[in-house]
Symmetry: C2
Subunit: 289 residues, 2 copies
């Protein structure tokens, strides 16, 4: 059954609290307004899944979306704030694209954002996971793959790094945190709109990977191979394990190569987002030479 989409929402039902202003903005001032409640529910994964939409906050991230040709279905802006020219452009494009604009107070924007000091613009976007079978592995030399990633900040940061190194996207294996959570979207700084995002069980992923080109590289303590001693072939799939456990043994066994980064200190591991970035820059640097 197809997910209900934004346009299937009932016509604005809260006319008592809303009025349309000449700028085509709908003004809402009440926390209990059903639209506000519905938007706020998108802070929770189950509601995002049901609605097929997510929240993105702040001019920088919304501008990345615009540059990627992606417009919000619904835009929430702060009242009594003169919008930055870029935000005006996003508002105009949203309306031209058939989207709605809601103007409200900063208290409500704070509730949607979850931050005490929120930005003055929030967009509601359709989520856009890419089915694994539709992924064009030849579109990039580097792909990032994360297994059972738990921290939304790490996930968003990995997306951001992926964008920086020219990766094609991030493949999420097993039960990862939701890439469309407010925290992940925020940490991605907009890369959630430019990186392909795939969610796949491990077995499906390895089946798909073996059906074409691709070097699967895992970072591990169970190897003597220094990460700079290996030649990475294109496309390289960099596999990062869970923050606390690292990769399961059978996942390591499935890798074409295991490598390790030098650890000069007391601890034996790096933060997952850091490890993926150091690896990804090594792959990029080899390609640059």
């Amino acid at each position: 059954m197809p997910k209900p989409r934004w346009k299937s929402w009932p016509a604005w039902s809260s006319t008592a609290l809303a009025k349309i202003d000449p700028l085509m903005r709908r003004q809402i001032s009440g926390f209990s307004n059903p639209t506000i409640k519905r938007l706020k529910s998108l802070r929770e994964k189950k509601h995002r899944k049901r609605e097929g939409h997510f929240l993105a906050e702040g001019l920088r991230i919304l501008t990345e979306a615009l540059d990627a040709g992606i417009l919000p279905k619904l835009l929430v802006v702060a009242e009594d704030v003169e919008l930055h020219p870029l935000a005006q452009k996003i508002e105009q494009a949203t309306v031209a694209n058939g989207g709605e604009v809601i103007e409200t107070n900063t208290a409500i924007i704070g509730k949607l954002s979850g931050k005490s000091n929120p930005q003055s613009i929030i967009g509601i976007y359709e989520d856009h996971p890419t089915p694994l079978m539709e992924l064009d592995r030849g579109a990039s030399d580097i792909w990032l793959v994360a297994q059972a990633l738990r921290d939304p900040g790490n996930l968003g940061t990995i997306l951001r790094t992926g964008d920086a190194v020219g990766a094609g996207g991030l493949i999420l294996i097993d039960d990862c945190v939701d890439p469309f959570s407010v925290e992940a979207v925020r940490a991605s700084m907009g890369a959630v709109f430019t990186q392909k995002i795939v969610q796949s069980p491990w077995q499906e992923f390895t089946d798909w990977l073996s059906s074409g080109d691709g070097q699967l590289v895992g970072t591990s303590l169970n190897t003597d191979a220094d990460y700079q001693s290996v030649q990475y072939t294109s496309p390289t799939f960099l596999l990062i394990g869970n923050e606390a456990q690292g990769l399961p043994a059978e996942y390591e066994d499935a890798c074409d190569i295991l490598v390790k980064m030098p650890m000069m200190g007391k601890a034996d591991s790096l933060n997952a987002a850091i490890a993926s970035a150091v690896m990804a820059y090594e792959v990029l640097n080899q390609r640059r030479k």
Copy 2:
């Protein structure tokens, strides 16, 4: 005036709620117990400053402290939980060192931790910033320097990366987030105990730096110098700017070299902790060759 230290606390004043058990543990079960309240207050910076102590949570981090020869003044353990042998070792060492052990319920531990699913052991440690003038710059080839860092997770992650690359420590310039916050300590995974932590105004830092050896390297968009084209000399001081603004122009001007990392994507920046790690591994890799 010297800060009041832990030992200056009044003798246990809440005898009505506490009793000493044969294991030398004091049992506390009440949220309103003054000791619990005082411990919980250490979640806030102003109370940490006043007390000169901070909270660290979890066996892994406490073990890093033990390995570094640092014991908590006070240890909080969950009741009805058989401690891991390493935790038992920490408890014994704490008592032998004149520290106290409090046994309490998981609800109170959750309040101290701020996590819904807390670990069963929390240590209270003396904070230990190093005065800049006491820093031995020759002790390491790499030092990390951060300016106006705002995110405690970034700060802790930078400490953790510093440990991994064999850096000597982290110098915090201007108004950075507190390195002894619960979030920073957690993200450091124990590196808060192994890395020197210095807090210094910019002018003092540059005066100190110019009084001895040291190459100050800034990452910036305002340069054409690729970060791999530069030869880093020892000791290298890697300067990372604020998450949103990057480095102020005058700080860039003070650097011996400005470098940039390749950015292949839509965005023009990396997360601050990622950028510092990619830089630090490049310096380490040059030294390894």
